[in-house]
Assembly symmetry: C2
Homo-oligomer: 139 residues x 2
């Protein structure tokens, strides 16, 4: 009897297949595209992806990527899905907007510091010049 | 004869319905949820949303929001969809990561400037003290 092929999720349904099929599916297909990235014990990760991007879109996005990039893609998609569930109006873009705003404020602070340094620098130079003049007069 | 109800897109199919049904649909339903945000001449915007989030998810996300928040949600979803199409691995998260990295570098620069100011400030104080001592000795 030919030995049964080992599935990617090690013989049980991965988190994605569990989320999609519930108890109807005991194990994934041998070539399940989700199995390497969705462990059996974590169905929430895929459930968020389903709610925001949908099963077909996620599968298509992963299929169009080389295997070496899929883990990063899953991580970023999960992050964006979670952000959209937490903030249904602005999602991940809201976080980006806030970060960009903080950065812009920081830039302004940097510019202000530059200006202040410039002002203090000039004063110091002016006082140094005065000191030299006074020394010349007294010597 | 009762006058025909004006559709939200002003009597022709909106960008979303054009994108979904092509030439099969001449005008939207009166209560089309997409019509206020997808003008007839712009089908690309909705096409990007379809590719990344899918029709049902976008519709559901908009339905779950009050009308006052839908325009912002459409803007942020379109931004994220475009970012994902441009960068299929990192999408909008990639932009967020880069911005956060730039901000962290800026923070370091700010800290460095703070430290430098501290160093120069102390030197100045030390030199002022020395000057006072010298003046006491000479007087």
């Amino acid at each position: 009897m030919e030995p049964r092929k080992q599935t990617r999720s090690g013989g049980c349904a991965c988190g994605a297949c569990k989320c999609l099929y519930g108890k109807r599916k005991w194990e994934c297909k041998v070539d399940c595209i989700f199995a390497p990235y969705f462990p059996a014990e974590d169905t929430l990760k895929f459930s968020n992806l389903l709610k925001v991007f949908g099963y077909r879109n996620v599968r298509k996005m992963l299929q169009n990527l080389p295997e070496s990039s899929r883990e990063d893609a899953v991580t970023s998609l999960c992050f964006e899905a979670e952000a959209r569930i937490k903030d249904p109006v602005y999602g991940c873009s809201g976080e980006l907007y806030r970060t960009q705003k903080s950065m812009s404020e920081l830039m302004q602070r940097l510019e202000m510091i530059g200006i202040l340094q410039d002002i203090f620098g000039r004063r110091r130079i002016a006082s140094e010049r005065m000191r030299v003049r006074v020394l010349r007069h007294t010597s």
